[in-house]
Point group: C2
Chain length 385, copies 2
Amino acid sequence: MAAEKEGKKIYHLNIGQPDIATPPAYYEAIRRFDRKTLAYAESPGTPQLIDAVRGYYKRLDVELEPSDVLITTGGSEALLLTCLSILDPYTEVIIPEPYYPNYTTFVHAAGGVIRALPTNPWEGYRYADRERIESLITKNTRAILITNPGNPTGVVLNQEEMRMIADIAKEHDLFLICDEVYREFCYDEKFGVPTMARFRDIDENLVIVDSVSKRFSACGARVGCVVTRNKELQAALLKFCQSRLSVATIDQIGAAALYSVDPGFFLESKAEYRRRRDTVISRLRKIPGVVVEEPMGAFYVMASLPVDDSDKFQRWLLESFSDNGDTVMFAPGAPFYETPGKGINEVRIAYVLKQEDLERAMDVLAAGIAQYQRKVMKVKAHPAV
Amino acid sequence: MAAEKEGKKIYHLNIGQPDIATPPAYYEAIRRFDRKTLAYAESPGTPQLIDAVRGYYKRLDVELEPSDVLITTGGSEALLLTCLSILDPYTEVIIPEPYYPNYTTFVHAAGGVIRALPTNPWEGYRYADRERIESLITKNTRAILITNPGNPTGVVLNQEEMRMIADIAKEHDLFLICDEVYREFCYDEKFGVPTMARFRDIDENLVIVDSVSKRFSACGARVGCVVTRNKELQAALLKFCQSRLSVATIDQIGAAALYSVDPGFFLESKAEYRRRRDTVISRLRKIPGVVVEEPMGAFYVMASLPVDDSDKFQRWLLESFSDNGDTVMFAPGAPFYETPGKGINEVRIAYVLKQEDLERAMDVLAAGIAQYQRKVMKVKAHPAV
C-alpha cells in the first residue's frame, strides 16, 4: 500500500481479522498428524469434527443428529452452498441492510435477487420489525438471511425478536438463514449465547451458518458448517459437498481440537472485545457529528461520520493525511448497502486491535475528521453551541 | 459398508485416492508454522504459493505473471469458480463423455448446460475429432471442457490433437477449460508433461484447472489453482476468491513446500502407476468379452464389461459374492455419461492400490464376472471358439 511505503503507520480497523491468539490445541493437533498419505476426508466432514460440533451445540441445549451438520470450507462455503441449494434464478432473499457484502456474491452466484430491508443509524440499525419485513415478501421470496450478532452493525436480536422472525419464516414458508458466526460475542448477559436452533418448530425452515473463524480466532483454518434439520436441504447440500470432495483434512483435525478448548477462552476473548468496544464507542461519541449506537455483539461498529463521503475520506486519510506519521483504515459504508446512495457517509470499524492501538486509532480518526472538514469540505469554524 | 461389516475384504478401485505417500516436505512445513494467530491468507493465494506454482510452470517452459494464478480450494473450487465466472443460464459447455461426474454439478450450479461429445470404448474413448466437436457448437456455446490426461478414460491428447482443439476454441471464440491435474501421469515419453499453456495464441481462451492432489498425492490438502492469462476472467475469478476470503493458510504453506520436492518423486510415482496400469490391462484383456484400450495417462481405465448392468453387477459383488472372502469395488459407468442409457455396462477402475492388491482384485473381478454371468445373467456354458 502506497501509504505504508511512504512510512506511514496504518491502524487497520477495516477487516474482521482478530488479533487474539488461536488456541494452541489447533497447532498441537495438526502437528500430531502422522498418516503417510494426506487423503481426502469424508465429503460431509470428518465424523470426529461433526461430533465435536454436535458436542458444542449440546452445551447450548441444541441436540443435533450427525446428518444435521455438514462441514464446509469456512462460513463462506456454507453460505455459497446454501444459496446454490435454495435459490433459483430470480428468486428473492430478504436481507437487512447494511449487510456483509459477500452475501451479494453468493446470492448472485445462484441467480438470486436481494431485497434489502432498510435500517438506519438513528435507530441503531435495528431491523426486527414485522411490518417492514412482511412488506418485502413476494411470491418469489425464498429466504430471509440475517446475521446475528450482526456484521457490520453489531445488532443482537433479543428473544422476542428472534421468535418473531422465526414466526414470519414459518408462516410464509420461507427458509431462515441465520449466520451465527459471532454467537459468542454478545456483550450483555441477557443474550446468553444466542441461536435460532433452539426453536424446534422451524426445523424445516432453519439453516444455521457457522464457523470456527471468529469463535476460536482461527480464520485461516477455513472450517465452518451448515446446520439444518431439513432433510431435503441436507440432500441438496450433500450433493454439493460431494462434488467438491472434502474440506481440508488437517484443518478439520485442528478444528475438532478447538472444540475441546476450555470455555474460559470465550469469556476472556469476550471480555477483551467488550473493553475494546467500550473504548471505541466512548471515543466516537466525543467526535462532534458522529451518529453511533452501542453495538451489543460481534466486533464491529457501524457509524455515521460527519463527512461528505466516507470512501473519499478514506482515500484522503491514506494519501493526504497523517497525525504524527499515523493514519487509519476503516471499511467505507456504501458497499454494505444494496440500495444505491445509502451508507455514503457511514463506516464500519472493526475493533480487532489491542486497547492502546485502538485508543491511538480513534485519536487519529478524530484528528482526521477535523482536518478533513476544514481542508476538504471547507467547513468554517464556528462558536460551539 | 454392509459387506465390510460381514467381514468381507473389499478391494477399492472405485475412487481416485492414491496410496502413494505424500512428500514429507508438506508435513515439515506445516509443523514449522508458528504464528500465534491463524489469520486469513491473501484472497488470490499466498505470494509464496503463487511463486512456487510459477516456478513449477517455468520448468514446463510456461512463463506466468503472478496475476495469472489464482489459488483455489482444490481443483474442485477452481472448476466451480470458473463455471460461475464463465457461464450464464442456458449457455453451453462441450465436454467429451464419459467425463468426471462432478463437472455436471459445477456446470449446473452456474445454470449452464452440458453438450456431450460422444466417444466409445471401441475407439478407446478418443474424442479429438474436429468434425464431431464443431457439430456441437451453437450460438450458446461458451466453452469446451476437457480433462487431459483424461479421467475416467486415461486418454492423452497428442500435440496435433491439442493444437486442433486450441484452434477450434480460437476460431469459434470459446473458452477452453483444460483440467490438467493428471499432467504428470503420462505413460509414453512422447507426451512429456503436456499442457495447453504453451500455446500463447490462445491466451484469451485458455483456463487451466490444476491441483496438488494427484501430482503430490496430497488430495486432503484441498489446494489447487486456476491459471489464465485472460484479464477479464481473472477479475471475475478474483471477485469470487475475495468473496470466500481465502484458501486455508496452513495448507498453502504445505503446498508451497511440495513444489520444492525433487522431480524424482514424479518419476517414481509415474513408474509405479505404469506398472499398475500394465497389470490391470493385461489382466482385463484375459477376461473374455471385456473391451478395453490401454490408457496412456492418469490412473484410471474405462472398460466395457460383459455384464448387463455394471451398477447391478457392483451391488451383486458386494451383497451376494465373495471369492475366498474378497470382493471388489469399481465405479459404474453410467454416471460418467450425460447421455441417458450410455455406459450401462462400463466401469471405471482406479489403479490406486499396490501391485499385489491390484493383482488379487483383478482375479476377484474375473471370478465375479464369470459367476455373475452364470448365476444372474443365466449365460450357459459354451465351448470356447
